[in-house]
């Protein structure tokens, strides 16, 4: 059975007809060719498929596409805009937090959700927030460092933006 859904994906309104049993992950990857979101297990255990649904992190393999009807979805592709990287993406590069890169989209998305809630996370906060995002390559250290680095950069950016009237680096998560 099919159903028509309308949703906001990375700031773009999308309307599509989907099978009611199709996961949001399948829809994003196959329907919209947003392949940045990865499938690592398809059972909610690895975090590779993490996206923001109305700003909250979810494993998109556990969400049906029809559940996203009328809502907003942010994927890794939505974190950078016209070539301008999200501070988290910059920090992942500068801290060498990327190896094979397969977990990276989910990590960055998950971290974006954390920083939205908690702009000054401790190391433990970061570890807790990313505990559902598995990475087999990095040993996590540089990832945790990158997230804290990005948090600092974003706080500094917000201050600089407020004081000097410069635009803040950019709103990290579209509402």
């Amino acid at each position: 059975m099919k159903k028509t859904i309308t949703l906001d994906v990375n700031g773009v309104a999308e309307t599509a007809e989907v099978e009611v049993g199709q996961t949001l992950l399948r829809f994003l990857r196959d329907g919209l060719d947003l392949t940045g979101t990865k499938e690592g297990c398809n059972e909610g255990e690895c975090g590779s498929c993490m996206v923001l649904l109305d700003g909250r992190p979810v494993n998109s393999c556990l969400v049906l596409a029809v559940e996203a009807d009328g809502r907003s979805v942010t994927t890794v592709e939505g974190l950078s805009r016209e070539g301008v990287l999200h501070p988290l993406q910059k920090a992942f590069l500068s801290q060498a937090a990327v190896q094979c890169g397969f977990c990276t989209p989910g990590m960055v998305v998950s971290a974006a959700a954390l920083l939205r809630e908690n702009p000054e996370p401790t190391e433990d906060d970061v570890k807790k927030a990313l505990a559902g995002n598995l990475c087999r390559c990095t040993g996590y250290k540089q990832i945790v460092d990158a997230v804290r680095d990005a948090a600092a950069a974003m706080r500094a950016g917000a201050v600089a933006g407020g004081e000097a009237g410069k635009p803040a680096e950019r709103e990290e998560v579209p509402a």
Partner: protein
């Protein structure tokens, strides 16, 4: 010469694609009218296949191809061709492919696969390696004697032994007799899974002209091509393999894996793309795993604490097929003594077929397993002799002027394990007179590994310029995270004094267009591809200088490269690469030179075969990388939970090419080592042979919450003579010593030894209870024996 680039934190050149989600992995590629594959797998660990009936499945709507062993009775395997694309007469593990279906949707494929009827006659399975090795054991491969095999692997027909490597050095028997004290212990390592975050996936098409094209999540595009060509009887030129970005491999994507099944199906529906993607559940047991090991060690020491006699008996649980695993057996043989000099050695490394999942390459290639045994053995001996474990290691370790188990004499360029031991001992505070706190302990372990590869394993590169003087580098080594593309850019930048921003490394090879590379395994890429880059760069330099010399009317020898230009220092004249790379044009219009490009390669030099009886060889391997790790742990006596608080690691890498990347390799290796050391084991039901923990819920790998609070990483740089700027391999070594170091710390913390990996809380708790009981018993016995009133 501009500032050095090698030795600095150049950001990953593939990083931008990966953080934005732009990087394409195999499952991200789109193919028109893609067909989906379901594989029919054996539910039995060991059975005869009496009949496979696929007609009903083939008739189902949406099914485009069905294939089974009847259609493709072809053998494959990288070193020993002991496996067919589909099981023909016999299945050898739960998950062994028997047939496969390609259909328009994954659901249709699964339904059709369920309609394939297979008749089995179950046979008694063997799961235990000792059982498989025992005389008269049922044979897993009765036809072993007829398989094609490379000459340096020695299967024993009529047994389950798929390879046996013997080390005989000095006179072990007499040395043992003459020893002051002798220690014998047995250690075990279970099978574990690689768990790359990206599961295996392969896509294939056979076009109407018969050409085969494959996209695969693989470590070795050329080996995949070579083995596909061999298996299907095709000219290499008609097989084209692409490898896009790969989401982790750790050895599990080395050699050949899913590709033959995808190609077999594609042969039966020409013109259509066919995709085989295993799910996470199948990934655990149907793709390759790490081999299990049972190691028996005997150590004889003299009164000075020097090991005189050392026996190592390694029994490898290879699982149902040993095509790749036989070389782990070999590698563990010629490295059987680890980082130590043993003057008299009896070493046997024996691969045994069982009915477990297929053992294959896994980061470390047997080294973590044998170091689990060796490094605990050395620790036990040191403790028994009352010698500080670090001191005991220093007394016995390899170094310049010492000889390995194959009789290879190391020189001063070989790398310094002694410095690594001292370094980590210091970093962790391993002083013999340190203060002791109950249930807190420190442990140390060494590591060594050489690249295990055929003596003629080569890498090559192509360097060419684009019109704007961007240097494009084609490689066929796979960067699945270790940073190869970045270090290649750094080497080229250094060699040509060209900014990294002007370099593009093409790291996703296509065997039709990319230069040959044997495989991305064995921590060999930085070294082998790196050497090829320097060779090609020197050719490029020659071409640029020759053209510039003519253009500037100066001798070529007076020219140098700086910042993307050819410079004549004496006159200060310079020509930017832009004016040279497509040829130089004189003011009168005539042009010289031409598009500048170079291809080069590297093949290890001077490697010699091992003696078939004793395995003695003056140069069995290209290089050794030594290292050590030390850990401090806390044990919760109530639960047995071990918390690794700090890990110190130090390796002699010859040259640190990129500090940020090499640290990343080391952190990653430590945490992966922590995983296999304390959490991971692929458990089979002893009755059915099925994996009982084949999911990420039941098979835990380390998460952010398992990371040690502190990881201190350091490097020694004893230049490798034949390494690019002195560099040698490191990727795999980083996970070798971690479990043994934790085990040794456990002894230090609470006086217990766990000889069977992993060190789970349950095992620790049981061992603590057993120790308590034993102590109570001893105390009671002691009290009973001592008459009242006796003065001690």
């Amino acid at each position: 010469m501009s500032a050095p680039v090698v030795g600095t934190d150049v950001p990953r050149v593939d990083g931008l694609e990966k953080v934005t989600g732009a990087a394409k992995y195999t499952a991200d590629l789109k193919f028109p009218r893609l067909l989906h594959v379901a594989v029919v797998r054996s539910p039995h660990p060991h059975a005869r296949v009496l009949d496979v009936r696929t007609d009903r499945a083939a008739r189902m709507p949406g099914v485009r191809a069905v294939a089974s062993g009847r259609d493709f009775p072809l053998h494959t395997g990288i070193y020993l061709k002991d496996q067919t694309v589909f099981a023909t007469d016999r299945v050898r593990f739960v998950g062994d492919p028997v047939a496969a279906v390609a259909a328009e949707t994954p659901e249709l494929a699964a339904e059709a696969a369920a309609q394939v009827h297979v008749e089995y006659e179950p046979l008694p399975p063997i799961f235990d390696v000792e059982e498989g090795f025992a005389e008269g054991a049922p044979l897993v491969h009765p036809d072993l004697g007829s398989y094609e095999v490379v000459p340096w692997i020695r299967p024993k027909a009529g047994t389950n032994v798929c390879n046996h490597l013997k080390i005989r050095k000095g006179d072990y028997a007499s040395a043992l007799k003459g020893s002051w004290k002798v220690f014998e212990n047995v250690f075990r390592v279970p099978q574990v899974q690689h768990v790359p975050m990206e599961p295996h996936v392969s896509v294939a098409r056979v076009d109407l002209a018969g050409k085969v094209e494959v996209h695969s999540s693989a470590q070795s595009p050329f080996t995949v091509r070579h083995l596909l060509a061999h298996c299907f009887g095709l000219p290499h030129g008609d097989v084209r393999v692409h490898v896009p970005y790969v989401g982790g491999g750790f050895g599990g994507k080395a050699g050949i894996n899913l590709e033959p099944i995808a190609v077999a199906l594609a042969m039966r529906c020409r013109g259509r793309w066919v995709r085989l993607m295993v799910d996470r559940h199948e990934e655990f047991f149907a793709t390759v795993v790490r081999q299990g090991l049972t190691a028996t060690l005997v150590t004889g020491v003299d009164r000075h604490g020097k090991v005189q006699a050392q026996k190592m008996h390694y029994l490898w649980n290879c699982g149902g097929y040993g095509g790749y695993g036989v070389n782990i057996v070999r590698s563990a043989g010629y490295t059987c003594g680890g980082a130590y000099e043993f003057p008299n050695v009896e070493g046997d490394s024996i691969g045994v077929y069982t009915n477990r999942p297929v053992g294959s390459a896994y980061r470390g290639f047997g080294m973590q397993e044998i170091h689990w045994a060796l490094e605990q053995q050395m620790d036990r001996v040191a403790v028994e002799l009352g010698i500080d474990p670090a001191e005991f290691r220093l007394k016995n370790c390899l170094g310049a002027g010492k000889s390995t188990v194959t009789g290879q004499l190391l020189d001063e360029h070989a790398g310094r394990v002694d410095l690594c031991i001292r370094n980590v001992a210091k970093a962790i505070g391993f002083e013999p007179d340190r203060e002791r706190t109950p249930y807190r302990g420190k442990g140390i372990a060494c590591a060594v590994k050489a690249p295990a590869m055929p003596n003629d394993a080569a890498s090559s590169v192509i360097l060419k310029f684009a019109e704007d003087a961007t240097l494009e580098i084609l490689i066929s080594g796979i960067d699945y995270g270790q940073g190869l593309m970045t270090v290649v850019a750094q080497f080229a930048s250094e060699a040509l004094d060209l900014p990294v921003e002007k370099i593009r490394v093409k790291g996703c090879p296509d065997t039709d267009l990319s230069p040959y590379d044997w495989q991305t395994v064995a921590s060999r890429q930085t070294w082998a591809t790196g050497n090829a880059v320097f060779r090609a760069a020197s050719e490029i330099r020659g071409k640029l200088c020759a053209t510039a010399a003519e253009a500037l009317s100066v001798p070529a020898e007076e020219l140098s490269l700086r910042g993307g230009a050819v410079v004549h220092e004496a006159t200060g004249r310079a020509l930017p690469f832009e004016r040279l790379v497509m040829g130089y044009q004189f003011p009168d219009g005539h042009a010289i030179g031409g598009p500048v490009a170079a291809a080069s390669s590297y093949l290890p030099e001077g490697l010699l075969f091992l003696d078939p009886e004793t395995s003695q060889s003056a140069k069995p391997v290209a290089k050794w990388t030594f290292g050590a790790q030390a850990v401090s742990i806390a044990v919760d006596p109530e639960t047995g939970q071990v918390t690794v608080e700090k890990v110190a690691a130090c390796y002699d890498v010859g040259k640190v090419v990129n500090p940020a990347l090499i640290k990343g390799q080391t952190y990653g290796g430590i945490v992966q080592g922590l995983g296999t050391g304390t959490m991971e084991e692929l458990v089979l039901d002893p009755k059915t042979g099925r994996a009982v923990n084949a999911s990420l819920m039941d098979y835990k790998i380390p998460s952010t919450e398992d990371v040690p609070a502190e990881m201190a990483v350091d490097f020694v740089e004893t230049a490798q003579k034949d390494g690019p700027m002195g560099a040698r391999g490191i990727g795999e070594h980083t996970m070798i010593p971690t479990p043994a170091a934790i085990a040794n710390a456990l002894w230090d913390a609470c006086g217990i030894r766990i000889s069977e990996m992993p060190i789970t809380a349950e095992k620790v708790w049981r061992a603590l209870k057993a120790k308590e009981r034993a102590e109570r018993g001893a105390k009671a016995a002691g009290e009973a024996r001592v008459p009242a009133g006796t003065v001690a």
